[in-house]
């Protein structure tokens, strides 16, 4: 596997504009001869499909949901960052670039991050022009708020539903192109494999989730915009359908998978209430501005109602451990501290997996109406799910997996190690290094789809002769036969274990051994246990119904088959990255205060995994990361 990031020469602030100029273009009259497949219709996939179609290319888009408007970008709450400096508070492209590299704990590629910061301002312009109802000030200009540790106010938002409104904007642009016939949209279709012709990605095989039909699709290039893999943990804040089939099939066809161990655990989610739980719901991080996090000092008090635990018997552990940041300690620190308290047996609520987030002081200080104005909608969500009012008694919260920084490796052009296969949004290994800052996921998805890919994909297409690929080629027939055989195999095992029960087993191991904190012994144990679950899966799976029908058990089984392999890859990566950085916390590498210790001499690189066949350990390659414009430094929260 050759790893060449293709970073353009020149000063950091000029790389992107120079690169755009040096890229080959496709003549407007020739664009309609090229055919591009885009899988996924979230912020990245939806915006890319709309933009490429506007330019004149023929686009075919796929999503597993019943409408492109439902992709999981829709659930993002907080906002989207952009270096507009509308607040005149010292923001700039360079500052957003700097904050993102530093926030990523120096494990991202400088050139990509700078480009992200450069195009961020264009995203806001584009979305406002589409009619996205961003929050406004009384003068009619756009409002901003501060977010995720930044020292400037650069976050644009639409109440608590920024992701929904941005996605509906991209969906409207996509819908316009569908109406014009330039995008062919296939809802309820799941990509089950990638087709390579002479080493280039030239098509996919899908399953129609309504009829079960397996079908090949040919194109001149393939774009994956299929999101992240937090559902490897079974319980996460992702939608229940989010899965890694597309990225894992690409990996198995030769695409390098970068930094699979980089996962982000969000500290403020509603805790699990029992084994029936199917997903976890995030509560905006902003709650920590006014809520105080605590657990009982004495484990014996955990069963008591919180109001019966006197002040002196409470441990406000974030305020105690991190006096200067207190309850606003960064995500990874806050998450780990909550886990430690619960590991000590001092957790509260069902299964003792929760900590209190208490608003009593704030309500006393500011009044209930002020708290209602700030957080009313969040308190409502909390009450709907738990049946408890956070005005009356403290919320219970617990960390949950919600974003994956790892993904398919891409070069500066967003092309994977397979020529013709481009990967955008959360699905690629992204610009976030080892930790993503708040309000940066929406920015990256739209940057990739609206502004980056439409300027890099044509350079690849310009070197390809259009229209010579068709699904009659042997390569398509072979992959289709493989997919059919795989589906038949899942249906024919006829054992006793449902896909969901096996996924639950996998999730428990991943959460315990490859979750917020990891260590060598635990990861080695996971690497022994995951193959056992996989063996159980292939020996004892039970899927009822048939292949040629709407069959949600079959969908679940197919998704789990890939999560099993991906989970193993995550553990390999976490084990071999023998340092702590961002969301990857190895217990062996911490200061006395529990801060992550990076080992830059050994690990200032992206790890890229090459598939070596079922049951074989994949090969680890590296892309060295240079930090020229943001010098390496230690993050401190004290």
């Amino acid at each position: 596997m050759i790893i060449d990031a293709k970073i353009p020469a020149g000063p950091i602030a000029e790389k992107w504009s120079r690169h755009k100029f040096s890229n080959k273009l496709v003549n407007p009259a020739n664009r309609r001869k090229y055919h591009v497949i885009i899988v996924g219709t979230g912020l990245a996939g939806g915006s890319a499909a709309a933009t490429l179609a506007e330019q004149g290319y023929n686009v075919t888009s796929f999503c597993y949901q019943d409408s492109p408007r439902r992709a999981h970008s829709i659930a993002a709450q907080g906002g989207i960052n952009a270096a507009k400096n509308y607040q005149n508070d010292g923001d700039s492209i360079h500052r957003l670039f700097y904050d993102t590299v530093k926030g990523g704990d120096f494990r991202s590629r400088e050139a990509n991050v700078h480009r992200l910061a450069e195009v961020s301002a264009n995203i806001i312009d584009q979305c406002a022009a589409q009619g996205v109802p961003f929050a406004r000030e009384y003068g009619g200009l756009l409002a901003n708020r501060s977010f995720g540790g930044a020292q400037v106010s650069r976050t644009f938002y639409a109440r608590g539903a920024t992701g929904q409104q941005l996605l509906l904007g991209a969906y409207s642009a996509l819908s316009r192109q569908i109406g014009l016939g330039t995008v062919k949209m296939y809802n309820r279709h799941e990509m089950l494999d990638l087709v390579l012709v002479d080493g280039h990605a030239k098509g996919i095989v899908t399953r129609n989730l309504v009829t079960g039909e397996i079908k090949s699709w040919a194109a001149d290039a393939v774009v994956l915009a299929t999101g992240g893999y937090s559902n490897a943990f079974y319980l996460s804040t992702n939608a229940v359908g989010c899965n890694s089939i597309a990225t894992m099939r690409a990996y198995k066809k030769g695409a390098g998978f970068a930094n699979p161990c980089y996962t982000q655990i969000h500290p403020t989610c509603i805790p699990q209430s029992g084994d029936h739980q199917s997903k976890l719901t995030l509560m905006s991080e902003s709650l920590r501005n006014d809520g105080r996090v605590w657990v009982p000092k004495d484990a014996a008090d955990c069963e008591k109602p919180p109001e019966q635990i006197p002040e002196e018997a409470r441990d406000y552990f974030l305020e105690r451990k991190y006096p200067s940041f207190g309850n606003l300690a960064p995500r990874d620190i806050a998450s780990r501290a909550a886990k430690e308290a619960c590991d000590e047996g001092r957790g509260v609520g069902p299964g003792k997996r929760g900590v209190y987030l208490d608003f009593a002081d704030a309500i006393q200080r500011l009044g209930e109406s002020a708290i209602q104005e700030r957080y009313g909608n969040l308190f409502d969500i909390y009450e709907r799910i738990t049946g408890d009012s956070a005005y009356r008694k403290p919320m219970r919260i617990y960390p949950a997996p919600h974003y994956t920084m790892g993904g398919l490796w891409v070069d500066y052009n967003l092309q994977s190690t397979i020529p013709g296969l481009f990967v955008i949004g959360e699905a690629n290994f992204s610009d976030h290094g080892a930790n993503r800052l708040g309000a940066s996921a929406l920015m990256q998805g739209l940057a990739d789809g609206y502004f980056v890919l439409p300027n890099t994909l044509p350079n690849y297409l310009a070197g390809e002769k259009p229209g010579i690929i068709n699904t009659g080629l042997d390569a398509f027939q072979e992959v289709e036969a493989d997919v059919n055989a795989f589906t038949e195999k899942l249906l024919s095992i006829n054992g006793t274990r449902t896909p969901r029960s096996l996924h639950l087993d996998l999730g428990r191991i991943m959460w315990e051994k490859c979750g917020m904190a990891r260590n060598k012994a635990g990861l080695e144990e996971a690497l022994r246990k995951i193959p056992e679950i996989r063996q159980e899966f292939w020996a004892n799976l039970k899927v009822t119904g048939e292949g040629k029908q709407l069959n949600q058990e079959l969908e679940r089984a197919g998704r789990l088959a890939e999560f099993l392999d991906l989970a193993e890859l995550m553990c390999h990566d976490a084990l071999d990255r023998d340092e702590s950085c961002g969301g990857h916390f190895r217990e062996e590498h911490q200061t006395e205060d529990g801060e992550a210790v990076r080992l830059d001499d050994d690990f200032a690189h992206a790890a890229i995994w090459e598939y070596r066949g079922a049951g074989e350990k994949p090969t680890r390659h590296v892309e060295e990361l240079d930090f020229k414009d943001v010098p390496l430094a230690v993050r401190s929260y004290k």
């Binding site: 929904q164 642009a173 058990e553």
Partner: protein, 251 residues
Amino acid sequence: MNLKLKIWRQDTSDGSGQFKHYEINNVSPDSSFLEMLDMLNEQLVESGDQSVAFDSDCREGVCGMCSLTINGIPHGGHQGTTTCQLHMRSFSDGQTITIEPFRAKSFPVLRDLVVDRGGFDEIIQAGGFITCRTGSAQDANEIPIPKPLADDAFDFAACIGCGACVAACKNASAMLFTGAKIAHLNSLPQGKAEKDRRTLSMVSKMDEAGFGNCRNYGECSAVCPKEIPLDVIAKMNRDFAVASVKGFISK
């Protein structure tokens, strides 16, 4: 909790279906309605039966994928709540719960509780957008939008496209859905240029896709999980009348 379930089962879109009865025991009052169905499905698969097909995705009330008519009411009748956010503590032990798909001629059943809401996408494709090619936008602050107007636009844009409004309406009208999108885009300065064209085109597509007319029953707004107000229908009717008259005069 122990419950009796009466669930609509239907194999294919061309076949006919029927209610089947199930019993489910030891349901946690803290589980969501869909988690209760997950639990039922585990039991069905373990005993060799096929699971009940139903749509869901984000399970936090924003993607609009979940549906279900529960005891005769789309999304189960809790104000501002989607089925995925409905919890079992709202039901009582021993209760019989009837679960059907969203019923509407233009939402054909695909299997069990899964319906095809593709008509909604077609209405948006007909005009539910502001034409602005990527890269051509002016600076976002060049068009000031008064805060109250922006707030209203957000309220209209909050629609999640779930289709409960259609399922609740005797006429299977999609006017709350279409009206919400038209109100969102037509009220903003950016949306003015294509206002008439948008309105005529979306309304005509709505009729073509087989959705019925509004008779002011108001059921749509009552079941809407995002509480979209009925006003959007009046706004749409006004914009439609203006656009039609303009079209007539210019002929």
